[in-house]
């Protein structure tokens, strides 16, 4: 019902703003055209070598053979570190909004059976992607995404925790990526190499360690984000301020971005 009134309201306001939206459309079309022209000019000017050649030239000293992984975890590792922090920040933001809504139905036998096949497969594939990232397309993000997807499936199958451990362990897994990354960086700095400056000899292993931690962190963060709230645990018993924990009895599917049936 609410969605219907909302749709009607939106339709009315859209009607009212039709002229305005037409104007916006014209302006944006102009903007798009101008940007295309500029983009064309930039492409033409960009005959100068960008960073590709240099990136390939330096590849042997990076500890990995896949150039994209080299950029992500060596040349521009600092970006990747911060990006893990972004993911964590988003999750912490989600957690700060309150506990997750309960109320998933247990899956039927067919789905449960499928889940018990798919989830291990996803985890194994994730591990493979993680390892192969050193040579070919793949790496921590892809692997983490698969782990996250596994969590999503488990949750859809009815586990309110999406297969994640309790809150305390979950917190450690979440911070593992950034923590290992930063500590490796700081450790290298203390031993004189400079922050995130891997000595070529051990670069491969350092990167692998970071990637493993990052994979876990990303997977857990994605799954936890899908759960959509603080994990229900002994530490987070519903308090007076978490009224929504008590009142949220409707199916949570309305609140979470579940795929349409």
């Amino acid at each position: 019902m609410t969605s219907m009134t909302r749709a009607r309201r939106a339709a009315r306001s859209a009607e009212r703003n039709r002229d305005l939206s037409l104007l916006v459309a014209v302006l944006l079309a102009l903007l798009g055209a101008a940007l295309t022209v500029v983009y064309f000019m930039a492409l033409q000017a960009g005959a100068a070598p960008r960073l590709a050649d240099l990136a390939y030239e330096r590849l042997p000293g990076t500890g990995v053979q896949n150039p994209v992984t080299a950029v992500l975890l060596n040349y521009r590792a600092y970006d990747t570190l911060m990006e893990l922090a972004v993911l964590l920040a988003a999750l912490l933001g989600i957690w700060s909004l309150g506990p997750a809504a309960p109320g998933f139905q247990r899956s039927g036998a067919v789905l449960a059976g499928m889940v018990s096949w798919v989830v291990p497969l996803l985890i194994v594939t994730g591990g493979y992607l993680l390892w192969v990232g050193g040579y070919a397309p793949g790496g921590a993000f892809q692997a983490g995404a698969l782990l996250g997807a596994a969590g999503v499936i488990v949750r859809l199958a009815g586990d309110p925790r999406a297969g994640l451990p309790g809150e305390a362990a979950q917190r450690w897994l979440l911070v593992a990526g950034v923590l290992v990354f930063t500590l490796v960086g700081l450790g290298l700095m203390v031993f004189g190499a400079g922050f995130l400056t891997y000595p070529p000899k051990i670069a491969k292993w350092l990167i692998l360690a970071i990637e493993m931690a990052a994979t876990v962190a990303i997977g857990v963060a994605l799954a936890a984000a899908y759960v959509g709230g603080r994990p229900p645990g002994p530490q987070a018993r519903p308090t007076a301020e978490d009224e929504d924990a008590l009142s949220a009895t409707e199916p949570a599917a309305e609140n979470t971005p579940a795929p349409s049936p």
Partner: protein, 98 residues
């Protein structure tokens, strides 16, 4: 080579403009969030297009890495926006019930 890059990147710019339009004119939150993602995807397209260096030379890895990073950032922001939206909807419904 230039043509391919131009067409692919140009499509990205079209996506950018479309997303922007949708973000500006549509009221519902979900549409705004999707619009933003389209806008971002447009920019990622441009980055992928410029990484292309012809059929022989391997692509420039730097823009690829940037896109990967950008995607994770976009996913994170989208997740937070969705949850804030859900929380807002809860609050509005609570208000209405009172």
């Amino acid at each position: 080579m230039l043509t391919a890059q131009f067409l692919y990147g140009g499509a990205g710019l079209v996506l950018f403009a479309l997303g922007l339009w949708s973000f500006l004119v549509h009221e519902p939150l979900l549409r705004k969030i999707i619009a933003l993602n389209i806008t971002g995807a447009g920019v990622f397209h441009v980055l992928i297009a410029i990484a292309y260096r012809g059929d022989v030379a391997p692509p420039d890895p730097v823009p690829h890495a940037l896109v990967l990073t950008g995607i994770v950032v976009a996913v994170s922001a989208t997740a937070l926006a969705l949850m804030l939206g859900a929380r807002l909807q809860d609050a509005e419904e609570e208000d209405r019930r009172r």
